[in-house]
């Protein structure tokens, strides 16, 4: 019985020590980018309010450019609530003159390694899991943009949806946010231009 009790005490000691080390190291870790915010739900999807009253009569819920035509008409928002764009539509945004002057922007929702390896030329980066470090630098550009195309790797990657949520919560209007679901994988597969570590 004594042996059993002794083992139990040792287990508790190990658990308490690990908890202390884990919490302490997280609070004090020198690489702040890897600090985990214990109270934050990192995977909470922010579904924006759909502004039905603001729809242009007879047109789907799309942004309208200054020439009066439809910009890259978006698909109906999926469960996540954001407008989506196909590769062709994203490519049109990339080639549009407004991309040069910052009225249209791309945001890469992946981490440093993926971004450095290859990203859409001129794309900003917002890492959702380190959003406090990334968002302030990008927010000013995002607030002034008419169209923001957010992407990650594509496929079942959800980071672009999460970054859309971060931008929306920071005050970027839903109408300006577009999700490129094909992501970097499709962009590269289609042979579109990329910028990377070698550039």
């Amino acid at each position: 019985m004594n042996g059993f009790r002794s083992i139990l005490v040792q287990i508790v000691v190990l658990l308490v020590l690990s908890t202390g080390l884990g919490l302490g190291f997280n609070a004090a870790r020198p690489d702040r980018k890897n600090r985990i915010n214990l109270g934050k739900d990192y995977f909470k999807k922010v579904v924006p309010v759909t502004p039905t009253a603001q729809q242009v009569p007879g047109r789907p819920n799309t942004a309208v450019d200054e020439n009066g035509g439809n910009d890259a008409p978006a698909d109906s928002p999926r469960e996540h609530g954001y407008q989506t764009v196909t590769f062709e539509e994203a490519f049109d945004v990339y080639n549009h003159p407004k991309y040069e002057n910052g009225l249209y922007i791309f945001i890469d929702a992946r981490d440093d390694d993926h971004y450095a390896e290859a990203h859409v030329p001129g794309a900003y980066q917002v890492d959702h899991y380190r959003v406090e470090q990334y968002l302030p630098d990008v927010l000013l550009e995002a607030m002034g943009a008419e169209k923001i195309v957010v992407y990650c790797n594509g496929g079942d990657c959800e980071d672009s949806i999460l970054v859309c949520g971060d931008l929306y919560e920071a005050g970027v209007p839903r109408e300006a946010l577009f999700l490129y679901e094909g992501g970097m994988k499709e962009w590269q597969k289609e042979g579109a231009a990329v910028q990377g570590a070698d550039d």
Binding site: I7, Q10, I11, V13, L14, L15, L17, S18, T19, L21, G22, L23, F25, N26, K33, N34, I36, N37, L38, G39, K40, D41, Y42, F43, D111, Y129, R130
Partner: protein, 178 residues
């Protein structure tokens, strides 16, 4: 005339072999846990993202798991390797393996079903978040079975060969005796 080994000598040789086997089991298990734990300590964000693939791991409480579990793994690895509260550490190790192996298996089956016959079950490969990167499901199951066996050896073996805890208690006993 050849001298036959005496029963005592045979028993002694067996005991020595057993001691070294137990030591090897502790070293292997401890080493793996230390490595896997430190990989997760170094990049908790990646660990968080990988845990999200398991339906059971949702909610803000998972953040605490991300922060504490790698240290528990590392500490248990050190304890098992050095033979200090090694038995307790091995019990925790078995607990972790028993808790996570079914989750990994279910995730592997989910990927297999999604592949709709394009993959065999053993070809299913994904990063389970254990710290070893992307691995094939069958290899992972085998690896976990081996680690569980090593942990059970560490729990039930009588040998305390090169256990720091015993060296410490022996020295204390000697000092008390003298």
């Amino acid at each position: 005339m050849e001298r036959l080994a005496q029963p005592v000598e045979v028993a002694s040789a067996r005991a020595t072999r057993a001691r070294f086997l137990v030591l090897l089991a502790r070293a292997a298990l401890g080493g793996v846990f230390i490595y896997m734990g430190l990989v997760k300590v170094a990049d908790p964000v990646e660990f968080l993202q990988l845990l999200h693939q398991y339906p059971a791991m949702s909610g803000a409480w998972v953040n605490s798991v991300v922060v504490i579990l790698p240290w528990l793994e590392t500490l248990c690895g050190v304890a098992i390797l050095l033979g200090v509260v090694g038995r307790a550490a091995a019990i925790i190790a078995v607990g972790m393996l028993v808790a996570f192996t079914p989750l990994v298996a279910m995730r592997g089956l989910e990927i297999y079903r999604e592949a709709a016959g394009t993959l065999s079950i053993c070809d299913v490969e994904f990063d389970c978040g254990c710290g070893a990167g992307s691995v094939a499901l069958c290899s992972k199951m085998l690896e976990n079975a081996v680690l569980t066996s090593l942990a059970l050896i560490a729990i039930f073996a009588r040998s305390q060969f090169l256990c720091l805890q015993n060296l410490w208690t022996d020295r204390t006993a000697q000092q008390a005796g003298s």
